[in-house]
Subunit: 231 residues, 4 copies
Amino acid sequence: MSEQIFPKRLAEGYQSFLQGRFGRERARYQELAEQGQNPDTLLIGCCDSRVPPEVIFDAGPGELFVVRNVANLAPPYKPNDDYHGTSAAIEFAVMGLKVKHIVVMGHAQCGGVRAYTEMEADPYMRPLAPGDFIGRWIRLLAPAAEGLGAPSEPLSDWSERLNHESIKASLANLRSFPYIATLEARGWLSLHGAYFGVATGELLVLNEATGQFHQIAAEAYRDLFADAPRF
Amino acid sequence: MSEQIFPKRLAEGYQSFLQGRFGRERARYQELAEQGQNPDTLLIGCCDSRVPPEVIFDAGPGELFVVRNVANLAPPYKPNDDYHGTSAAIEFAVMGLKVKHIVVMGHAQCGGVRAYTEMEADPYMRPLAPGDFIGRWIRLLAPAAEGLGAPSEPLSDWSERLNHESIKASLANLRSFPYIATLEARGWLSLHGAYFGVATGELLVLNEATGQFHQIAAEAYRDLFADAPRF
Amino acid sequence: MSEQIFPKRLAEGYQSFLQGRFGRERARYQELAEQGQNPDTLLIGCCDSRVPPEVIFDAGPGELFVVRNVANLAPPYKPNDDYHGTSAAIEFAVMGLKVKHIVVMGHAQCGGVRAYTEMEADPYMRPLAPGDFIGRWIRLLAPAAEGLGAPSEPLSDWSERLNHESIKASLANLRSFPYIATLEARGWLSLHGAYFGVATGELLVLNEATGQFHQIAAEAYRDLFADAPRF
Amino acid sequence: MSEQIFPKRLAEGYQSFLQGRFGRERARYQELAEQGQNPDTLLIGCCDSRVPPEVIFDAGPGELFVVRNVANLAPPYKPNDDYHGTSAAIEFAVMGLKVKHIVVMGHAQCGGVRAYTEMEADPYMRPLAPGDFIGRWIRLLAPAAEGLGAPSEPLSDWSERLNHESIKASLANLRSFPYIATLEARGWLSLHGAYFGVATGELLVLNEATGQFHQIAAEAYRDLFADAPRF
């Protein structure tokens, strides 16, 4: 490998950033470099290329501490001798950076949730690769799937239901971290579930009291969707 | 929790996205929702709030499949009974989405690398939390640190050297995934190291032949930095 | 499970055996039960349902000690703390039963050899199951494949060449067992390679001096094939 | 080695097969070669020369996918970096060929079970060979032996009890393969234990509800055994 073959699209995109956004926000970047980051929010999102959190929340530099894994999962609190990147990021954000919010953001048509659905529907489904890291990772969805019964057709509907349940299960897993439970109980930390509809741009947020997902602050942007075909 | 207290800053940012970027790219989002994602690049980046990959590469929806963990680490290939989010994301991107590039992007002033440095310099350093997920996670940096000797003052310099070595070690770890080694040998996949200087906006890319990091396509943006104090 | 649902086809087949062959050879079975087995030959064959060694060699009870695994492989001599069924069977046959011959019998259209071929031709090939026992097992074919270059179309031809080379490699692996090398050197044990053509019924045997496979004792049964369409 | 010294007995047996069974079933072999195998049953049997499954079940070409190892053992599900022939064959049969039945068939006077018994009874027992593959392999019998106490005289009786327990333990091991447990739970796969008495020709099948072995469909062949000395 040599620098010459660094992907052209990325090199061009970087120059666009440098001449555009970085130029405008240079002072902010310099300040963040000197004083360190101090984000308010930990966002747990999906690796999916369609759902970058900074874009969806139009976030500036320093605003969101973001861990992204397949299917935006927060594992349960299970310290052992192995390394666990997501749990490490949660610990770093909550105990190191002292964030005030944790947002678990799912999205429609998630390939990881879909893979779990297909694996459950067809026991002969082949794993992606010999190491089967994906198979073991998405088995974290199993507790969320328990209340749904066996996958039923159309699988895409079952998969979206699982997707919603998975966000609730991740919030429950977060609360299995002792310090998260404590900080939430004291009102120093709050947890949120959100769900982005890729096709429509709709953002749903979870009302944990009812277990339902609702449009966020619908009245505030009702006009926006006046001419949208269906939403 | 109820939807009413969804962080105001995020709700506003989302509306800005909806009225701005989503409005302009609605057709692209709809297409991506219907046809699925097909990104060319897997980017392994840091959770740090100052280094969102889509911003730094001005990437559009569908372009980058992004895993973000503390210190942008790719672990070695070690399948076991435990779940491993980063290895799962690598498997999903390479074997499922068949990406053509993997970019490991580090950045200056990384808190995870710094934490490893301090832990090495001071054996009395306390862990962030009882579970010590961060301690075990950043121990993945140990092989990269081997050639550097014990941490020396100023720690920030030692930390930056480790930061560079860590990117090289992550590339080596990626090549311990059998299919990555095979696909790279066949020319179907290429691996890249990059490093973002938060303060300056500078992007360095790794020349693996020399082991050195260089400014990317320097001539292309020389003018930009004409008035930069030092670079 | 209960005995009632023992597969009907097998229950009927067993009664056919009992009333037929067992009835005729009862004395031989009783003698073998009382005096123990004393086979002359260890045969290493494939699990494939089309190539039962006792049928192909019309063998009676007590004649063939048979280990069957996917792709009729003899692994190299590598004692370690793990269990290895084929090496155990080889040890039992050679050192316990003191067989005089070892026959490695391959066959056309072997699914295990084919799986290796496809895995080599397409690095994106998915494993059969999460544990990937088959992937690791057939990687025992790698040394045999080394001299063949990369898989080329038609894959079925490349696969059959690998199939032949694999039999030679298994003989070499057998000779890596110290006692097999010693016993062969003293003329107390001989090793043989054979290959069964499922479609034609043809049996080829390996001439190790030339590395070629030849029809067995062609002159002896030339008449047999006089009216065979092609052979 | 040269083809001239291929064991005479095998060459003659092959010609008998060719003129007899192959001649009669040539169309079936050709069909199986062209369309591939599609067996209903995976049989895990012993290498012993007295118990060829195709003979005992009078099976035709294409009916039984057969793995044979010393003492007809199914190991527990333990994927690791080593190769495991029996687990590979199980994976190939269940996930590749989608067999409907798995039969573990033991037999009386098994040398492998006997070897374990003697090894337990006499700590001074020597291994068969320096590599001690057999010793490690038959240690797979240890969990089955746990409920039996120390070996007691007559060893042959203790050995037969272990033999029966071993079949049950193999069924339990099979169920430790996640996909086997799932497929059995869905009714797509069934597991069976069987035991062949070499001297008498008797076939016992395991009733897992009672843990007892019973004569298969006894009424169907009662007459056959009317004059058998003891049974």
